[in-house]
Symmetry: C2
Subunit: 298 residues, 2 copies
């Protein structure tokens, strides 16, 4: 790590503080203090539970209470006890609150448009932004179990297919590659993991349940903007954990020789080369891993 690298990063940091400072400041243009505006926006974005709100915004419970009271006084929100636990409170936007929220949204969108229009190669810029945001927000990457039919999973799988088509130089057809039945990717047979970073799906990995304690790993994909962070390894680790808790003892997967990063991931992670076990025309390498026992899912 050279000194110049650091100064280059700090340049981004400064640029970004200024810019987002300006963004936040623009919120003040609507006449509400920043704290109040933040609460209003968080509620607008679907954070209704007061406890979750406090957590998300990092506010003291006393302060939170007062801010909510203020918004209530302005007629922008309504609060009431949670249905499941009357100690908890939930907040909702009133019609007036929805209107105020949309003002903020419009402002924010305009600001974003303004920045994006400054640069001619928008896609290039957005990719850079994706990468920076993913790296800065790394702590907030969360891996969750999703349904195979979930729209976010579909987005990932589509990206996976598009990318394979490009790398292999032929159209990658899901059916031909042996697209698993959705049912075999749901609990209790299997599982579909989805990696999310601040609302954006950035990776997935499926575990397909078979018989005799055998499982197959499919659709391992990590978005280009999230590569180099060790996400694939993390996904694989969790897949193995799930496999164990589903009673599986062996895992298999197939892959293509052009996916060198995947090959080295598997080989460094205890997978053994085995002979072809299916007729997937895109597959050139086949791996198996025997699972040990002890483990836990964090």
């Amino acid at each position: 790590m050279t000194l110049t690298d650091i100064s280059r990063f700090r340049r981004l940091s400064r640029a970004v503080t200024t810019q987002t400072g300006a963004l936040d400041h623009s919120f003040l243009g609507l006449g509400r203090p920043l704290g109040t505006a933040r609460v209003l926006n968080a509620i607008g974005h679907g954070k209704n539970d007061v406890g979750a709100l406090r957590d998300y915004l990092g506010l003291d419970s006393g302060l939170m209470s007062r801010l909510l009271r203020g918004l209530e006084g302005e007629g922008l929100i309504e609060t009431g006890p949670s249905q499941t636990d009357a100690r908890r409170k939930v907040a909702q936007l009133t019609k007036a609150g929805q209107a105020a929220f949309e003002q903020y949204e419009t402002l924010s969108d305009q600001s974003a448009k303004g920045v994006l229009s400054r640069y001619s190669n928008t896609e290039h810029l957005l990719q850079a932004m994706d990468l920076v945001a993913t790296v800065l927000g790394r702590d907030q990457i969360e891996i969750l179990i999703a349904d195979p039919d979930d729209l976010r999973i579909q987005t990932c799988v589509q990206a996976y297919c598009d990318e394979l088509s490009e790398i292999l130089g032929v159209t990658f057809d899901r059916q031909t590659s042996g697209d698993p039945e959705a049912e075999s990717l749901r609990t209790p047979k299997g599982v579909f993991l989805l990696a999310m970073s601040d609302g954006l799906p950035i990776g997935c990995c499926a575990l397909k349940g078979q018989s005799d304690g055998m499982g197959e790993v499919k659709r391992m994909w990590v978005s280009p903007s999230a590569r180099g962070l060790g996400l694939a390894k993390q996904l694989m680790f969790q897949i193995e954990d799930h496999a164990r808790s589903l009673g599986m003892t062996r895992l298999r997967l197939d892959t293509n020789g052009k996916l060198t990063a995947a090959l080295s991931l598997y080989r460094n992670d205890g997978w053994q080369d085995i002979p072809r076990y299916n007729d997937n025309p895109y597959a050139e390498f086949f791996f198996e891993k025997r699972l040990g026992s002890a483990s836990s899912i964090g």
Copy 2:
């Protein structure tokens, strides 16, 4: 512009607010309020003039005064009247102030290192950060006149040569290409423009004075991180303005066919193809532009 583009940008914005919020917050770890810390850091970074400080940090004169008094009370700075104008004040770090400043610097460096170490392809990440920072900080790009021997100019010219070598596939030698005498690039004969974005040199362009109202444009270069912002056009516009005010009536330049962006810039900007006028072996295209009269340098 699609909705997704906007949401992708806003994702960066959020990630970055959080991160830089954390960065700023780390400043609080040293027990000084943010305002005080900002003033101390600004002075440490060479902003000594109190008026310039106020301007830079956007503070009210009363507040500024109090913050300075506080730092003085802690023994971290010393202030005194400016030598040129006794109404003005200048502030300097004391030995203790220097030590405190370095604590902040160390903290900031560590934080930057931490983020950079999260991602394996550091250069790729830094390029993305450069691009984002440049776009976000576009308003702060400033073009100034620099001496040909200025280190920042040398950095740009070196990058220019390296890049040409790569594009042309042969080592680009400055001497062979007709490296101009430094004197012909200084006022009153010519000018060397330097584009800076928040402390980083991101582009340059030289105007070489010749005889008979003739000038030659040399060393037009814009950093990859700053392309697509129209900076080359801006540089060229200012070069032409300087040429006029130096009494020039015609400009020439040569370029290589592989530099397609440059070719279209010149052709769209009123330059006429002319026959070869020198023996620069790297040059394949030659242009001339006749300068009109009225103009001003903003």
